[in-house]
Symmetry: C2
Subunit: 342 residues, 2 copies
DNA sequence: GAAATGAATGTTAACGATAACATAATATTA
DNA sequence: TAATATTATGTTATCGTTAACATTCATTTC
């Protein structure tokens, strides 16, 4: 005596109810032109009434798909600002409505294999900040998953890569400050292992090196980690030194927010007593006091291009077999945190 | 002639290579005691060498599991602060390492059915802010998915529910202000449809009503939507009125940050000229200028309890058949944004 | 009106894993 | 040493779906 599975609606249940074969049901629900419109309608209505939910595992087993796109952050638990995390997720989710969006943090994985423990996604979007990620990216690729890396240049060969031009963004921002008469510069760096930290510092230094009248106050170059706390503490150090920069470049807006707090503590007015700059143009930058002069990192655009590319790869429409490498320009957003010293 | 699938390692491929049956391979990889240790070792090594990745769909088909937990926000695209979004995700991800974490926004779904389009999760955590969600919660339950709702009281029957005590949190905060000598109160409300908006306003009003010496300045009760912008604009309105409250309660910290900016614009010092309070104790509240007095909403604890409950439900260990209803107390965090008028 | 066409549906075999039920191989007992 | 446990392995069915390959039935064609 075979046990009838009464508590679940499958295409076979529907088939029995409709008096057709399960294949016909499958065809009807997939809008196959092989089924008579009338039959199709009846089956669809029945499926609806019976509360049919297709079994994604069975579908996936046949089609060898997971209906999942994985999004991988370098650091989910710390070192990534909430703003960036949330904005990235929002944007990806909006653009990938048809897929289940699985959030991952490379910092939570003991090793590369952990990435595929819960199954292979149909595509992987790495929102990468860290060189460490490359072995994970490589592993994903090796396992045949379409991969796109955004936010940071990857060394993994043949991977589609969309990144902001952080170097020139900072370079131009510093030149702007120099034009306003700034001569002595400080820097609060980002998380040591992040590539952005390196590029932003390089843009900072190269811009200053280009102008003989300007110089880096090395005492006022302090390590940080992109957090508000680190900005606060770094600025405390800078302000306790003897030699005082007229402008401190903060490697992101969070850091700048912490730095402002420190200035306040020391009774210094921004930008009257000291000027600050950030990076990112986080949503709160314009609501800071004073409004923060910063560099707009086009997160949305980068993400959009990245997701579009990933979709193309997943659907096998990639026009060229040459992986796209795209650098998106940043933009200086001038507000009130940099004094005009002329 | 059967086509050999050469480009994929399955248990059958491994079986052939090891000279055993595929069942033995399955058993070995699942650490069954039925397999000789020696055989087991050989198979595991082989699986490793061959880069075997189990097919999650096949597994799931047999076990009727998805290995996915869905997390559902009322609003993913707007109306939810980045801070809250990111913190919730971080916390859930940390506690649910064994599952794929699928992010969803109810605002992105045309209707209840859309929720299950991409398959049923093994469990659903609703981080709910809005009464609208109830029909979605109900639908999920109706389809047999274990459900936990956190952050907001749900009316759906029999659902595990963990929420903060917003009402008393605000009530006590306002009484604290009254003790400091505040008598005239303003309020910037949250997103109209959110239940938190209602409870926070009620706590605010009831606390003031209890003390005859204090009163609500109705001109200074302004709608908002939990965003910095709304705080800024609402405060602008309040400050252009004739009757001036001594303290404005902002329905969350974001709002408070916008309100401070507005005060600055009007040349008012917080708390010397006007006092502010927030709600949430967002990570940046202590770095605001001045440090924001606010109400700590124990997001981490609420999430932790919620996830633990969900795990129990998914694993069928729920001790009682009575759904847990838990209210977690908030805590007043005193900083520098409320003046002592005594 | 038989043969050929085509539309609609049915039968059966995958997909890759687990699980129930054999069976073979070895160890234990009488 | 034969009978019997015990241990290790193999065979086959199954999950719910799609897809390849029949088959049926009505319609057109000559």
């Amino acid at each position: 005596m075979k046990k009838e599975n009464l508590d679940r609606t499958t295409i076979k249940t529907i088939a029995k109810a409709a008096g057709v074969s399960h294949t016909t049901v499958s065809r009807a629900l997939n809008d196959s032109p092989l089924v008579k419109p009338q039959t199709k309608l009846k089956i669809k209505r029945l499926a609806d009434e019976m509360g049919y939910i297709p079994d994604i595992n069975a579908k996936g087993l046949v089609s060898n798909k997971a209906y999942v796109v994985g999004i991988y952050f370098s650091r989910l638990q710390s070192g990534t600002s909430s703003n960036f995390l949330a904005e990235s997720i929002r944007q990806v989710k909006k653009l990938l409505a048809d897929y289940t969006l699985a959030i991952n943090g490379i910092d939570l994985m003991p090793n590369e294999n952990a990435m595929l423990r819960n199954g292979k996604p149909d595509g992987a979007l790495f929102i990468s900040q860290c060189e460490n990620d490359d072995s994970y990216i490589q592993h994903m690729r090796d396992n045949g998953v379409p991969v796109v890396v955004i936010n940071r240049k990857t060394k993994v060969a043949g991977v589609t890569n969309v990144v902001p031009d952080e170097y020139h963004g900072v370079f131009q921002a510093i030149e702007y400050a120099i034009r306003l008469g700034h001569k002595k510069f400080g820097l609060i760096k980002g998380t040591p292992k992040f590539t952005s930290t390196h590029y932003r510092e390089q843009g900072f230094r190269d811009a200053i090196a280009k102008h003989p009248e300007a110089k880096v106050v090395e005492q006022a170059v302090i390590d940080g980690n992109y957090s508000r706390e680190s900005g606060f503490h770094a600025m405390n150090k800078i302000l306790m030194n003897s030699e005082f920069p007229s402008l401190v470049f903060c490697s992101n807006d969070e850091t700048a927010a912490g730095a402002i707090k420190s200035c306040q503590k020391f009774g210094l007015q921004v930008p009257t007593d000291i000027s600050l700059m950030g990076f990112d143009n986080a949503d709160y930058a314009k609501f800071m006091v004073p409004g923060l002069t910063t560099i707009y990192k086009p997160v949305d655009e980068i993400t959009r291009i990245g997701v579009e590319q990933l979709k193309d790869l997943m659907e096998g429409n990639s026009k060229s077999d040459q992986a796209l490498k795209k650098i998106v320009t940043t933009e200086l957003i001038i507000r009130d945190s940099v004094a005009d010293l002329r």
